[in-house]
């Protein structure tokens, strides 16, 4: 279980994440939403140890994440950043194989190869697995990085705007895969989303951030309503019910 307690981060004098305390429900999808610059990526970076907090702590199974052994932590929690840039030239398969590093330390066993195959298959990349990343479109590259995280096969999967660059079909496909990882394999997914309709349709819980603070935290159906959304985004967003899903029609709304 991941628990965030009183987490604060400043850049210069400006608090970017301020006194955030939340518990991530295990075996569920939790979406982080909120305007640009709200501190979502910064929060995720602190949970995944990419960034040190100024005050407060993040606990994984009651132990501070900073006290975990690096390689043990990597078998429990994985993160995909919002922007990914590589200095080296790799094929899709080579990149995805790196996802097995916490287990194989570079020497892939047959089981490792199978996990890699499966992750590539999940992301529909089997046909192009030997292509170099710099030969791919933005969305194909994004899928390759998601495949790496899936190959890492951790209990907790943190994804920062994974739907970046993806077309509708692949976005839906990835959300369905995440749902399956949670429902069938009991994984816990934390995902930053900008399209609140994906958050509404696929997540169990929503945490809304604004100016570094948590403004809403609860089950999805308590947060996807016009009133709460106004508080988060300062916009009037009508919410409509369609086939049991709540859809936010924000395209022509005014503030």
């Amino acid at each position: 279980m991941i628990e965030i307690k009183g987490l604060t981060k400043r850049f210069g004098n400006k608090p970017v994440v301020e006194d955030v305390s939340i518990k991530i429900q295990p075996g569920a999808i939790t979406s982080f939403i909120g305007p640009n610059g709200a501190g979502k990526s910064t929060l995720l970076s602190m949970v995944s140890r990419l960034l040190d907090a100024d005050t407060g702590e993040v606990l994984l199974d009651k132990n501070d994440v900073k006290k975990w052994k690096s390689d043990e932590f990597a078998k429990r929690v994985s993160i995909l950043k919002q922007a990914n840039f590589l200095n080296v030239r790799l094929t899709i398969r080579e990149l995805v194989s790196f996802g097995r590093y916490p287990y194989s330390k570079g020497r892939l066993t047959i089981e490792d190869e199978q996990s890699v195959d499966q992750a590539i298959e999940y992301m529909n990349l089997t046909d192009m697995q030997d292509k170099f990343l710099d030969e791919l479109s933005g969305g194909q590259k994004q899928r390759a990085f998601i495949a790496m995280v899936i190959a890492q096969d951790t209990e907790y999967i943190l994804l920062d705007e994974p739907l970046n660059n993806l077309d509708m079909k692949h976005s839906v496909q990835i959300m369905k895969i995440l749902r399956k990882l949670v429902d069938d394999l009991g994984k816990t997914v934390v995902i930053v989303l900008h399209d609140i309709n994906f958050a509404s349709v696929y997540s169990d819980n929503i945490v809304a951030l604004k100016n570094g603070r948590v403004v809403k935290d609860g089950p999805t159906n308590e947060i996807i309503n016009s009133e709460a959304l106004r508080e988060i985004y300062d916009m009037n967003i009508p919410v409509q019910e369609q086939n049991g899903c709540r859809i936010c029609v924000y395209f022509n709304s005014h503030s």
């Binding site: 990419l50 390689d71 590589l86 590093y101 916490p102």
Partner: protein
């Protein structure tokens, strides 16, 4: 061509260079000349691998392909240490006469320098590479001026003996240091063998490396010490050859397109041996000792350095 084929070709060329250097035109007694030549070859192989290895790993942990420990002022630090020793203790002091003591002093100073530099420069996340380069250059110039200033104050005879130490030379190697250098290199490779996989992951960048379970800060610290010790070793053995690491590392990246450090380091090491032994052969038999290898290397290396900078800036712009 596969990478294994390329490595075999490099090995063959390196061996040809060594044989050529060892046997070509041996005048006078074979028993006299051959062991001396082999001693030089030994020094060149050690230096070559030490510089290649330290440059590749340094560039991996700093996530760049232009800066090298030498360019960032480590070579100047060697000059500072030697000059300070001559200035305060003199050329007949134990700090000069005892090669091991001198060697130890250089290594300690260079490692400390590297750690301080790193703390300031690379730790604070993302400075643009040109800023780092500029700081390295300024630091190098500053240390260089300090050295010149002290040298003016030194007794002229002492100064000559200091000069011979500060100028890279393969004909005038310090044989006493050969064995200890081999020992250090073997230890370094033994450690390197254990962290090869971690270095491969490191080339994906800091965030991916942490995500995949690398203890980032500790690995960076260890590798930084490793690369400083290696550069200190090669500098103590033959003197500073600033741009050499830059050339061989980048040639290796270009020739062997891979992320695997075992391949990159081996390739860069073999290229080093070819360049040093082959180059020394040319210097001795074609230029007939009218120039020195370090002059040629720094000349060619400087041009290559500018080429890399231009290429980088075009890619960035």
């Amino acid at each position: 061509m596969r990478n294994s084929t390329k490595l075999i070709i490099l090995t063959v060329v390196a061996i040809i260079c060594i044989l050529l250097y060892g046997f070509y035109d041996i005048k006078g007694g074979f028993d006299y000349a051959f062991p001396r030549r082999m001693m030089r070859v030994g020094a060149m192989v050690i230096t070559g691998f030490a510089i290649a290895y330290s440059t590749v790993v340094f560039q991996t942990i700093t996530h760049n392909r232009i800066l090298t420990p030498s360019v960032m002022g480590l070579d100047s630090m060697f000059e500072v240490v030697q000059t300070l020793i001559f200035f305060f203790a003199g050329s007949i002091s134990i700090w000069v006469v005892n090669q091991y003591l001198n060697f130890a002093a250089s290594i300690v100073a260079m490692v400390l320098f590297a750690l301080i530099l790193y703390r300031f420069l690379f730790r604070a996340d993302k400075h643009p590479i040109y800023l780092l380069l500029l700081i390295g250059m300024i630091l190098g110039t500053f240390l260089g001026s300090l050295v010149s200033f002290l040298q003016v104050l030194i007794d002229p005879v002492e100064y000559l003996s200091l000069q011979s130490r500060l100028f890279a030379s393969f004909t005038n190697i310090k044989v006493e240091l050969l064995y200890i250098s081999i020992g250090i290199l073997l230890l370094a490779f033994a450690y390197g063998y254990r962290i090869m996989g971690q270095l491969d992951v490191m080339s994906l960048g800091r965030e991916n490396a942490i995500n995949l379970g690398i203890n980032y800060d500790r690995l960076v610290l260890n590798v930084l010490i490793l690369s400083s010790v290696l550069i200190a070793t090669s500098t103590a053995l033959v003197g500073p050859i600033t741009f050499f690491g830059l050339i061989v590392a980048n040639l290796s990246y270009q020739f062997l397109v891979t992320y695997k450090h075992s391949v990159l380091i081996l390739g860069a090491g073999l290229i080093s041996v070819i360049a040093l032994v082959g180059g020394q052969f040319i210097v001795e038999h074609i230029f007939e000792m009218n120039t020195t290898l370090s002059v040629i290397i720094n000349f060619v290396g400087g041009i290559y350095f500018i080429y890399l900078l231009l290429k980088e800036s075009r890619a960035a712009g």
